[in-house]
């Protein structure tokens, strides 16, 4: 019988595998921006620095000392510090992509009364937050961890003697740990900002103030000889804390342990905000 003549019928489960709710939320959250042409262009654009670094790594392997003289510096090296420097220099793409993907994740749900819809389903706060965090984390990893891992593999294939198995084992592991730590931390802070209101544009403004404004103030402090201004360099703290694991010099004139504490405090504060803000309450507009 055609379906339109059957009327309402009860569901007959097929017994197929059921995806956990956080995965369902994350999948939807990731697929939506990938349908945007500009977003795809931005993601490819974020790979350009990796291609440049790969070219330098290639020519260094072939030209040796001469290439070191031409394009020396930490950014081009295949040491853990070099990869941390690479991740650090991706910060503009990190800012752009995380804000495009994450700014409206909760704000839009609040604006459209989506929270009451989500929490009328058999999901917990952890499922909801886990799914949303995974969306931003994946976007972050796409412009930092993914090109870094590809670069590790490329550098090993080009010159296996340069850094040995470290390039295949230890460095990728360290990169994964710092990327997940930084990615989760930034995701939670961005989601906490997103949960504070219903307007995405305000989240973009706050995120810009936090990421770009913090760095600008820190650099201004450097310019006038006041290192303490770097304490407001929000993104810098994550890279500075990562330097502990990557055996790299501190990225800021702030002790890396202090940066780590600031990062952990940001995560704790964000979780407290999210716990308070995410409630299935209808917003009467």
């Amino acid at each position: 019988m055609p379906v339109h003549e059957r009327g309402y019928t009860h569901w007959n489960p097929s017994g197929a595998r059921v995806d956990p709710p956080w995965l369902v939320i994350a999948r939807r959250g990731l697929l939506a921006p990938l349908k945007n042409r500009w977003m795809l262009m931005l993601l490819f654009g974020a790979l350009v620095p990796a291609i440049v670094k790969a070219a330098i790594v290639f020519f260094k392997a072939k030209a040796g000392q001469f290439m070191d003289l031409a394009v020396g510096g930490e950014w081009t090296s295949v040491t853990p510090a070099g990869f941390l420097s690479f991740v650090e220099h991706q910060r503009f793409f990190v800012f752009l992509i995380t804000v495009i993907v994450g700014a409206g994740l909760i704000a839009r749900d609040k604006r459209d009364n989506g929270l009451s819809l989500y929490f009328s389903r058999p999901i917990s706060l952890l499922d909801y937050l886990g799914g949303k965090t995974l969306v931003v984390l994946a976007a972050y990893a796409a412009v930092t961890l993914l090109p870094s891992l590809l670069l590790c593999l490329f550098a090993y294939l080009v010159d296996p003697t340069a850094a040995g198995l470290d390039l295949l084992l230890l460095t990728p592991l360290r990169l994964a740990v710092i990327s997940i730590f930084t990615g989760v931390g930034l995701s939670l802070v961005l989601l906490a900002l997103s949960s504070l209101g219903t307007r995405t544009v305000l989240v973009v403004v706050w995120w810009a103030v936090l990421c770009l404004g913090g760095e600008a103030i820190g650099n201004l402090g450097d310019g006038i000889g006041l290192d303490s201004f770097q304490y407001v360099n929000f993104l810098g703290h994550w890279h500075n804390a990562s330097s502990l694991l990557m055996s790299a010099p501190a990225r800021l004139p702030v002790p890396p342990a202090a940066s780590l504490l600031i990062c952990l405090a940001s995560i704790a504060g964000s979780l407290a905000i999210l716990r308070r803000q995410i409630k299935p309450v209808e917003v009467v507009v």
Binding site: Y8, W11, A16, P21, V24, N113, G114, F119, V283
Partner: protein
């Protein structure tokens, strides 16, 4: 054929407050799978009660059970048995109709393919088969209401919790929506809790009503249109000593309202003194005698059966207590 296993909803001594402002006070009831209307004025606690049923608020003190599941501890499992259609929102932009319904199905614990297949089925059922691929933010109000019903139905719940389902619909859309609700409750065996201000919607779809006022469950009774006990409404218009007449009428009637020269009195025929003739005739005579005794000259006297609206008004209007 009804295949659903009958499940009950039990609410025991439920109390809830928003920032010390009581929203529910000692609410206590039990429902078998049936069509139940939830009535009450604004702020009476209807939506809070629905949220408590969904386990969206802190259920303490009190208990809410959906079937054998305690919603304070097993809310996610309990929500599998409930389909929620909110009054406001309820649509996540950026999805096609079928995409949104399938998404809700997946979130409700359905496998991906099942959710998509079922989304097509329920969209056919609610009459959105031709619009299912359109982005849901382009839907009209009527289509949005149908889409929300489809989202509530996709995982085949045992109970549907509908918050103002006919809100914003034109008359034709309203009739169509009520027919769907009637079909679900009457022929498909789903339990329905219909929270609404439109009494006609309750009369058209429900077998029982719960009346809430100021967070308390005031009354619960069966819906039988046109036959609410032995009560009759007398609408009187006239001139003269209105104040004395109304005061005297209050001693005879269950409820009296005065709007200028227009007086409406609800008289319970079962409580009239015994006498000659039919009870209705005795009631008319009693009203006319009172009018004569208080120098009130009726120009028009009209009698009609009590509707749910009369009952509801008298129940929830505190001034008439």
């Amino acid at each position: 054929m009804t295949e659903t296993i009958a499940s009950t909803i039990r609410v025991n001594r439920l109390t809830f407050a928003y920032h010390r402002e009581p929203a529910l006070r000692d609410v206590d009831f039990s429902l078998q799978q049936d069509a139940v209307g939830l009535l009450g004025p604004n702020g009476s606690g209807k939506t809070t009660l629905l949220r408590a049923l969904l386990g969206q608020i802190d259920i303490k003190p009190g208990q809410v059970h959906v079937g054998d599941l305690d919603m304070a501890r097993q809310a996610p499992a309990g929500r599998r048995r409930l389909g929620w259609m909110p009054e406001r929102g309820g649509i996540i932009p950026g999805h096609s109709g079928v995409g949104l319904v399938a998404y809700m199905g997946e979130l409700s614990g359905m496998p991906r393919q099942d959710a998509m297949q079922r989304a097509h089925e329920v969209l056919h059922f609610v009459g959105l088969k031709d619009e299912r691929y359109r982005h849901c933010e382009t839907y009209s109000q009527g289509m949005r209401q149908r889409l929300k019903l489809a989202c509530a139905l996709v995982h085949d719940p045992e109970w549907l919790l509908l918050d103002e389902p006919t809100s914003g619909l034109d008359p034709a859309g309203r009739v169509a929506m009520l027919e769907l609700v009637n079909d679900l409750a009457g022929r498909k065996g789903l339990g329905v809790i219909l929270s609404t201000h439109l009494l006609a919607d309750v009369e058209a779809t429900c077998n029982e009503i719960l009346v809430l006022r100021e967070g308390r469950l005031l009354e619960r009774h069966a819906v039988a249109p046109g036959d609410v006990g032995g009560k009759q409404v007398f609408e009187i218009t006239g001139f003269g000593g209105e104040e004395d007449f109304v005061a005297a009428l209050r001693r005879l009637a269950v409820n009296v309202e005065q709007d200028g020269r227009h007086i409406t009195a609800v008289i319970d025929l079962d409580t009239l003194p015994q006498g000659e003739g039919a009870a209705t005739g005795r009631a008319v005579r009693a009203v006319l005698e009172l009018a004569q005794a208080h120098d009130y000259a009726p120009r028009r006297l009209r009698r009609r059966p009590v509707t749910l609206a009369d009952e509801f008004y008298s129940l929830v209007n505190p001034e008439d207590d």
